[in-house]
């Protein structure tokens, strides 16, 4: 169990020991609740067929909403980034979860990402703008550069989030106002 917890992001060996110990000492009914929640997580949740957001249905509530503008697609690294952007309440379009960024050292190349799926969406839908909202770090920037090239042949606008998210900063650690400003002041790159 300790070994399994250690695989979690941000959990070291000591924290893993504490978590395992907590579970071991918890009351039977609390423990069962935890087990049920873990099982339900994999059973009930899956990726949205359109944008790869995490959802309980086939299509997520954002893609399914009539109020969302389907002509603007915001590309993010992970589904968790959607939560951060949604919290800022600035964006009314839809998303596309890339599933990571280029990282040769970790064996992540173009084919490991949902780039083909994005291009399919752009080809078939009436997409007018693609916003690249990847984290502004080395790999995120490089992936944005590749996406800009891939999107070159389509008649649409490509934008990137404005600065404001500090260099090396993550969407995850930026406050709502910062994300809101970055979204509002996005820069056209094509």
């Amino acid at each position: 169990m300790i070994e399994e917890f250690s695989k979690f992001p941000g959990i070291g060996k000591k924290s893993a020991q504490r978590l395992a110990m907590y579970l071991f000492r918890s009351k039977d009914q609390d423990f069962q609740k935890f087990v049920d929640a873990v099982v339900a997580l994999k059973r009930d949740l899956h990726s949205c067929q359109i944008c790869y957001n995490i959802t309980e249905k086939a299509i997520c509530s954002i893609c399914g909403s009539e109020k969302r503008d389907k002509s603007v697609i915001c590309v993010v690294e992970e589904a968790s980034d959607i939560l951060h952007i949604e919290r800022a309440n600035e964006f009314r379009g839809v998303y596309h979860v890339l599933g990571g960024v280029l990282m040769p050292l970790k064996g992540i190349y173009k084919e490991e990402l949902r780039i083909q799926e994005l291009l399919e969406r752009v080809k078939t839908g009436n997409v007018l703008e693609v916003i690249l909202a990847l984290n502004p770090d080395t790999e995120g920037d490089t992936t944005s550069l590749m996406l800009m090239k891939e999107l070159e042949r389509f008649p649409l606008k490509v934008t990137r989030l404005a600065r404001g998210i500090p260099i090396g900063g993550d969407l995850e650690f930026s406050d709502d106002a910062t994300i809101g400003r970055a979204m509002a002041g996005r820069i056209t790159v094509k």
Binding site: P104, L105, T142
Partner: protein, 371 residues
């Protein structure tokens, strides 16, 4: 800015050492291996979060102890406290600035500018190009956090791109052209910014070195320096365009060798004396003078750029200078700010003791005594 106090616990040979410094000259006298260099090491560490000898924390820790603490009190218009703690069983370092834990080394680097002169400085003019790049990187990083971010980012790009090039070399079947193009463009973007900042720095720094030659070294000779980038590009080139042209031209070569062959990681500086290359024609004395001049120029340049007077650390360099020149440099240092100077032997420099506001310490087996 001055360093007012230094406290060490279980750092190198020091069990428990506390020192109060003079705002002017401080001389630390001791034999080899008695712990004088570790005092310089500790101050440099507090200012830069780096060990200039590249020693791992386990080497810095006094044998058999659970952790070390280095604590410095810096005085400017305000007083600042910096602690660096190392915990052996967790194998991690903690930085605390004014009571708050600091998570990015970049939040400390540059706050307390420092200039260090050591016997290893021979590498500045006589070492490999990497030694000169390290020199300019350490100077610019102390006043520009943008530059520090750029070189860290550039290093990451190089690492990923090297791996990618080798992957392409080993698997010619899988097309990774789009990936290589993307990392190439990122390298051009970040690398061009690094080159522009280095160029701008060296343009200004040049005149500081010339001035130091005349004012401090009192040399008749005239120093020069030429920045060598992108395989000998002209200074006024369009850097991004040239970088792009060169790097795409060498693509096959890069894949064949699995190496990044073009970019600021291959830069160099060509130093000269009276129009002749220092590296090819310089005497031992000319090299030494040039190295000291570079450090003094660094001091004045940082002072101007950051608006703060750096602390000057001189580790065991008086042994290489004649008494006359050492005295001249000491008197000069006293006028410009605070200096901390280590030496093995005082006999040749007894007159230094007479200088106003200077303080003398002796170090023996990790114990510091005011003399």
């Amino acid at each position: 800015m001055i360093v007012r106090r230094l406290t060490l616990h279980d750092f190198r040979i020091h069990h428990s050492t506390e020192m109060e410094f003079s705002p002017k000259l401080n001389f630390i006298v001791g034999g080899n291996g008695q712990g004088k260099t570790s005092l310089i090491e500790a101050i440099y560490f507090l200012c830069t979060t780096k060990n200039y000898k590249g020693a791992p924390d386990t080497d810095l820790l006094r044998f058999g102890q659970p952790g070390y603490t280095v604590h410095g009190v810096f005085e400017d218009a305000t007083e600042n406290n910096v602690h660096i703690r190392f915990l052996a069983d967790e194998n991690r370092r903690i930085y605390i600035k004014d009571g708050k834990t600091v998570h990015r080394a970049a939040d400390i680097i540059g706050a307390f500018p420092v200039v260090l002169l050591t016997p290893e400085d021979h590498a500045l003019t006589q070492g490999a190009p990497a030694d000169r790049r390290k020199f300019i990187d350490s100077v610019i990083s102390q006043y520009s956090s943008v530059y520090l971010d750029n070189i860290l980012e550039y290093a990451k790009v190089l690492k990923q791109r090297t791996f990618l090039l080798n992957r392409i070399k080993e698997n010619p079947g899988r097309s990774l052209t789009a990936e290589l193009d993307a990392f190439t463009e990122k390298m051009i973007l970040t690398g061009s910014a690094v080159i522009r900042q280095r160029d701008e720095f060296l343009q200004e720094f040049k005149s500081f070195v010339e001035e130091v030659y005349q004012e401090i070294m009192r040399e008749e000779e005239s120093p020069s320096m030429h920045y060598q980038f992108l395989e000998g590009a002209a200074p006024e080139s369009d850097i991004s365009a040239l970088f792009r042209q060169k790097i795409y031209a060498r693509r096959d070569d890069e894949i064949r060798r699995g190496m990044n062959l073009t970019g600021p990681h291959r830069d160099d500086i060509d130093f000269g004396i009276n129009g002749k290359s220092l590296k090819s024609f310089g005497s031992q004395g000319q090299h030494k003078t040039f190295q000291v001049a570079l450090r003094f120029a660094q001091f004045f340049y940082l002072k101007q750029r950051s608006g703060k007077t750096p602390v000057f650390l001189l580790d065991d360099v008086f042994g290489e200078l004649d008494a006359h020149r050492a005295g001249h440099i000491s008197r000069y240092l006293r006028q410009v700010g605070q200096a901390i100077i280590t030496m093995t032997d005082l006999s040749n420099y007894a007159y230094l003791r007479e200088m106003n506001e200077s303080r003398m310490f002796t170090v023996s087996a990790g114990t510091v005594t005011p003399a």
